[in-house]
């Protein structure tokens, strides 16, 4: 059987989205089925079966998973132990001596590895790399046996200064692997040979903690797919937006912590590029939060380090996602100073907004949208409810907002939306203006169910140039799986003055790390259009603490060339150089990217389609800008390419509703996106 299908699968809390690309036919099919709790692979395989009758025709399955994310957030990883240097078993629990909040001293913290499962062995390496005390493999084995006796399924080995010389740690890991009954053994310095003990220990411990859970899930998934006749490759989306082979995901599950959202950002990049936008701000609005990420000049912003929760630090490049507590379920309230606030408290999805009728009586953003006529009470998105209770929403806004502020209920509902929009605008400003980027060069791309109701306001509030609503905002992450490239990041601490840096040594190190990355690309058995390499140094002035990333040319590693690149990067970030102060090289980073072939997004565009006047579902009372309008509600998916609508109006489709504000207009582009801009 010829293999013609590439399948993208995004498993969310409520739905599993499947995106099937038939490469031979150049066609796309999509489905959404309820996620199967407990065993996600069931819905996964069933969903694919709806689109592809014969699994042997599938070449690749690419998966964005939240199994790792959820295990971290819900603290449901495996029973994990750590073997570490004498005197340092509390590194994980002591963190970097911080606290969760600036104001208020009511923090607590429990690390994922219990103190009784943190064992020490005698060994010590100095910062110079000199081994002061050699490790005894027998002592390590005996510690490992004790952890097994205590019920540990996974173990992490972490030694001080392992970044400077990993010899002791390597010997210890070998000893543990010789007796450990599973593959769940993580070496801190293998996964992060970088200075800073807490960040390395935390990343490695979380990797070990995730291994049993993620491996179990992926094994079962693989088995189910194989049992259905699938014999292609399975790829997993990493938090950096690249994919990796399933075997690598089992060894490095910590790299899947933001797998799901990263797939969405990759889709946004591709959709944006195809539509002619190299600069995109993605806006994912859920029940409790609003997540923003940025793509500048076709590259997604990556954070070197991310805290999944207080004290749960992962140091590995991840899609940088800024989250604020402003979602559909965010509660509107008046504080004691008489000011209208929205969030961070949220009614979530259960009990959810007042209009769900599940017990919450305090008004939310969704209630405000409903009262303003922007949500169809008879057709709730998500499929859980038959209809929404407008009257209850109105009463709640009257009681909690309109009454206390002396406003009428519609004005109060619009005020709630304005405050929520302002908070979202703040999040966007945070990722753009604060980095010296002009939002006017960007398009906002909403996905998820709720974002498209607020996207027009972002044009007006932040000054983003346009808003680009993908044709299927609800399955963007699944689409992202299909288009994501393969990516492998490697890092190595150098910690030397630039002046004495030996270009030959750096060149050799680049070659070594290049080899690691290429080997990982090759192992995955995936076709690439091209392989790209990025080489970066983390650099700083001698005496400074924080580094700046400096992209360098691997063909010219002379001190002068690197100094010039450092000056450029430093000036771009801080505006002025510090003349006469020597520079230092902290880390070397080498990234290999295997570009996967992209499909033509025009496959998503409507075939045929109708003029706007033939797509009007109803004329509805819609409140906007302080007045009621009789506004059309269009059937979005029925609109032809080139169709133009003018605000105020609504566009409905099964997975989202788009609101075009007064003063804005939307047009369907060649790929079926709706591009909203000022009239």
């Amino acid at each position: 059987m010829t293999k013609t299908f590439i399948i993208g699968v995004d498993v969310g809390g409520t739905f599993t989205d499947i995106f099937a690309l038939d490469e031979a036919a150049g066609s796309v099919t999509i489905t959404k089925i309820p996620s199967t709790r407990g065993d996600q692979s069931k819905g996964f395989v069933e969903g694919i079966g709806r689109l592809v009758p014969d699994f042997s025709t599938i070449r690749t399955v690419v998966h964005g998973t939240t199994v790792g994310t959820n295990a971290l957030l819900e603290r449901k990883g495996g029973h994990t132990g750590i073997i570490t240097t004498q005197g340092f078993r509390d590194v994980l629990e002591m963190r970097r001596r911080d606290r969760p909040k600036t104001w208020g001293l009511d923090g607590t913290f429990t690390p994922v590895i219990d103190r009784a499962d943190r064992l020490e062995v005698t060994e010590r390496t100095l910062a110079s790399g000199e081994i002061l005390e050699h490790v005894d493999p027998e002592a390590v084995k005996s510690a490992a046996r004790q952890l097994l006796d205590q019920g540990c399924e996974a173990v992490c080995v972490f030694f001080m200064n392992g970044y400077a010389n990993g010899e002791n740690e390597r010997i210890a890991v070998e000893a543990v692997r010789s007796i450990w009954p599973s593959e769940h053994v993580t070496s801190a310095v293998e996964i992060l040979p970088e200075i800073r003990e807490f960040e390395r220990a935390s990343t490695a411990s979380l990797n070990a903690y995730l291994q049993p859970v993620v491996t179990h899930y992926l094994d079962r998934l693989e088995k189910s797919l194989r049992a259905s006749g699938f014999d292609g490759e399975i790829l997993i989306v990493q938090s950096n937006g690249g994919v990796m082979a399933i075997e690598q995901a089992k060894a490095l599950p910590v790299k899947t912590a933001l797998s799901g959202p990263a797939a969405g950002v990759m889709a946004a990049r591709h959709i944006g590029e195809t539509a002619g936008f190299k600069n995109i701000i993605t806006c994912d609005m859920g029940g409790t939060s609003f997540d923003v990420s940025m793509i500048a000049d076709g590259r997604s912003a990556l954070a070197a380090q991310t805290a999944i929760d207080f004290g749960m630090v992962i140091r590995s490049p991840m899609i940088e996602i800024t989250t604020i507590g402003a979602g559909g379920g965010s509660i509107a309230w008046i504080d004691r100073g008489g000011m209208l606030c929205v969030g961070p408290e949220s009614a979530g999805s259960n009990p959810g907004p007042v209009c769900y009728g599940l017990g919450n009586t305090r008004p939310t953003v969704t209630d405000a949208n409903l009262v303003l006529g922007r949500i169809n009470a008879a057709k709730p998105i998500g499929g859980k409810l038959d209809r929404l209770d407008v009257e209850a929403a109105r009463a709640a806004i009257q009681e909690h907002v309109a009454g206390p502020l002396g406003m009428d209920v519609l004005a109060a509902a619009e005020a709630i939306i304005r405050v929520a929009n302002a908070r979202m605008a703040g999040a966007i400003r945070l990722v753009s203006i604060e980095r010296g980027l002009d939002p006017n060069d960007f398009a906002a791309m909403p996905f998820g169910g709720g974002g498209a109701l607020h996207t027009g306001a972002l044009i007006q509030e932040v000054g983003v140039a346009k808003s680009l609503v993908p044709r299927y905002p609800g399955v963007v992450s699944a689409l992202g799986c299909v288009v994501a490239d393969m990516r492998h990041d490697n890092v190595r601490t150098i910690n030397q003055p630039l002046a004495t840096l030996d270009p030959a040594l750096i060149g050799a190190e680049i070659a070594r790390m290049d080899g690691l990355g290429r080997a990982a690309l090759t192992r995955a058995n995936v076709a690439f259009e091209a392989v790209e390499r990025l080489v970066e140094l983390d650099m700083l002035y001698v005496g400074q603490t924080h580094t700046v990333p400096v992209a360098i040319d691997a063909d010219d590693l002379s001190v002068a060339a690197i100094q010039a690149r450092f000056d450029d990067s430093y000036r771009a970030i801080f505006g002025r150089l510090l003349e006469g102060v020597p520079a230092r090289v902290m880390n070397l980073r080498v990234t290999l990217i295997g570009r996967r072939p992209k499909f033509d997004l025009r496959a998503l565009a409507p075939a045929g389609g109708k003029a706007p006047e033939d797509c009007v579902l109803e004329m509805r009372d819609l409140y906007a800008d302080g007045q009621l309008h009789k506004a059309p509600v269009y059937d979005r998916l029925a609109l032809a390419v080139g169709a133009r609508v003018t605000g105020p109006c609504l566009l409905e489709q099964p997975d989202t509703t788009i609101f075009v504000d007064p003063g804005l207009t939307g047009v369907v582009d060649a790929c079926g996106n709706l591009v909203i801009e000022r009239i």
Partner: protein, 555 residues
């Protein structure tokens, strides 16, 4: 009043400007006390009074209270000289007018609109070394400011946009770390430039009048919120007192006492029963005292916005001659210790009337530890850091172990970074068993840091506290363990006569020191603790045997 929707939006935009100034300095700063420990702060201040209008969320909490006094000092100076111009930047570290201690430099810059003063921007940061008798400026034996550091009164660093090289030269000539000072100073200037740019954009967009009205409304809103919280408290007077070990010069305890009165429409903090000014560096200026009260209030009521309106309903009684009203040239280097004790007594007083909001006392000392010497190649090394301890138990659970000081949001440098930069190895970086105060919700644990030197003639200075007076629990909660400091030499193990302060200790290569920091005080009676939690504490080794919580004290 401005409509609440516009106010919410405007407030967020303004706060973002201060946040962005914070972020710029953290990234650019040279010395880790700013870059890692975030010992810095930025804000926007009233044109006439210097009152705080807007404060960054990440800034050092104690600065957020003290900056208003710093800006006021510049306002007075500019009025006296009569030559304020756009593009001026004032610089100074005078603690009597500007608050805190000589290590902290404040840069203050006017913002003009249409030729008129509109408001002030300020940047404060802790510099690595500003001269004085001890590298790093923590001199536990100072009896005058002159032994602590060079004193710079408010002077113009920039006059009408041009840097005055002579002022910079004077400053650079008075530090052991000129490169670090130059880098930090540049970072602060960058932050002020950026703040002015962002603020101008916002003023152009909203109009000056709207923003002015917004400032007034935000202040009024904070005042009202504070009043509403005060109204929930029972009227009357509650008292609390605690002690500092000594002033580093004379070994007698120093009382810090508050009599707090809740009255109709306000609060009074009366500090009259506190000790008189001391010879050593534990004095704080009146401005610092008020700023410390602000920090305590903000911890107790985190929901109130950070601006001067919070302090409007609060009166202060701080008698002249008090340890809490330092005058020139009294030494103030150890101000952190005094303000933490002040915050502790306010928490103790609140616990008597508002148990749900109360916290057991946190470890209550920064334990500034300096190791220094010369490497074999003759180069000088100085390892200086603040160390952590336990937070107090609270209504929601046990206290945080190894937290940062309530007056800061600092993080500690990684051991690997300290070892890479200095000839030392850490032998222990561990939680300290039996250091937490017992309670229904016990305190968090303090830490043990054991450090071995790799060079001869290593000199050790410790500026700490809580060596004799433990962090207290609240509502029947037990006390945390005291600070304990030891060093080894050929004769055995020693502890400082002044318990928590010592300078001039010399170590040979291979010798070790041990700093054991306090845990936090407990919340509620130990008899109310869930027995399952007590069993967990023993299983995890937080407590070595039943009823030994907080017992590290008595060893």
């Amino acid at each position: 009043m401005m409509d609440p929707v516009t106010l919410a939006i405007l407030g967020g935009r303004l706060e973002q400007i201060a946040d962005e100034m914070d972020a710029t300095l953290y990234r650019a700063a040279f010395n880790p006390i700013i870059a890692e420990a975030h010992d810095a702060s930025h804000g926007i201040y009233d044109a006439l009074t210097g009152d705080t209008l807007i404060q960054g969320k990440q800034g050092l909490p104690i600065f957020t209270g003290v900056m208003a006094f710093a800006v006021k000092a510049v306002i007075d100076k500019a009025a006296a000289d009569g030559d304020l111009a756009p593009g001026d930047v004032y610089i100074f570290n005078d603690p009597y007018r500007g608050g805190t201690h000589l290590s902290d430099f404040k840069l203050v810059r006017p913002v003009f609109r249409d030729g008129k003063l509109f408001c002030w921007l300020a940047s404060a940061g802790h510099y690595h070394d500003v001269g004085g008798n001890v590298a790093g400026n923590y001199n536990p034996r100072a009896t005058e400011a002159f032994q602590e550091a060079v004193v710079i009164p408010p002077v113009k660093l920039f006059a009408a946009g041009t840097m005055r090289r002579d002022i910079l030269d004077v400053m650079m000539a008075n530090t052991r770390q000129p490169r670090s000072m130059f880098g930090d100073l540049n970072g602060m200037v960058n932050a002020l430039d950026l703040g002015e740019r962002r603020l101008s954009e916002l003023l152009d967009q909203y109009g000056d009048a709207v923003v002015t009205e917004g400032f007034a409304d935000m202040r009024e809103r904070a005042r009202k919120l504070m009043l509403a919280r005060i109204a929930e408290l029972p009227a009357g007077t509650v008292s609390a007192e605690d002690f500092l070990d000594n002033d580093g010069v004379t070994d007698t305890p120093l009382r810090i006492a508050v009599d707090m009165t809740v009255r109709e429409g306000g609060l009074t903090f009366d500090f009259s029963r506190s000790a008189p000014a001391c010879r050593g560096p534990l004095n704080i200026s009146r401005g610092t005292t008020i700023a410390a009260c602000y920090v305590a209030i903000k911890h107790l009521f985190p929901e109130i916005p950070a601006n001067g309106g919070v302090l409007a309903p609060i009166d202060f009684m701080i008698p002249e001659g008090s340890i809490l009203a330092a005058e020139h040239p009294m030494p103030t280097g150890g101000y952190t210790e005094t303000i933490m004790r002040l915050i502790d007594v306010i928490f103790q007083a609140f616990a008597q009337i508002s148990p749900e909001r109360a916290f057991g006392n946190a470890y209550g000392t920064i334990n500034a530890l300096t190791l220094s010497g010369r490497r074999r190649d003759g180069s000088r090394w100085v390892m200086f850091s603040f160390f952590g301890g336990g937070h107090g138990g609270h209504a929601h659970g046990d206290g945080l172990s190894h937290g940062n000081a309530p007056i800061s949001t600092s993080t500690i440098p990684p051991v690997e970074v300290l070892e890479a930069a200095n000839p030392v190895i850490f032998r222990q970086w561990a939680l300290r068993p039996d250091s937490a105060g017992d309670g229904a919700h016990r305190g968090g644990l303090g830490a043990i840091y054991e450090i071995e030197t790799l060079e001869d003639d290593t000199e050790v200075t410790l500026f700490g506290e809580r060596g004799r007076h433990a962090p207290h629990g609240v509502m029947g909660g037990g006390d945390g363990a005291c600070t304990r400091f030891e060093w080894d030499d050929a004769d055995g193990t020693h502890s400082p006569p002044m318990v928590s302060k010592v300078m001039g200790v010399k170590l040979e290569k291979g010798r070790r020191i041990r700093l054991m920091t306090p845990g936090g005080g407990g919340w509620g009676a130990p008899s109310d603790r869930d027995p399952a939690l007590s069993a967990e504490d023993i299983r995890r080794g937080y407590v070595t045997a039943p009823q030994t919580t907080g017992m590290a004290n008595k060893q």
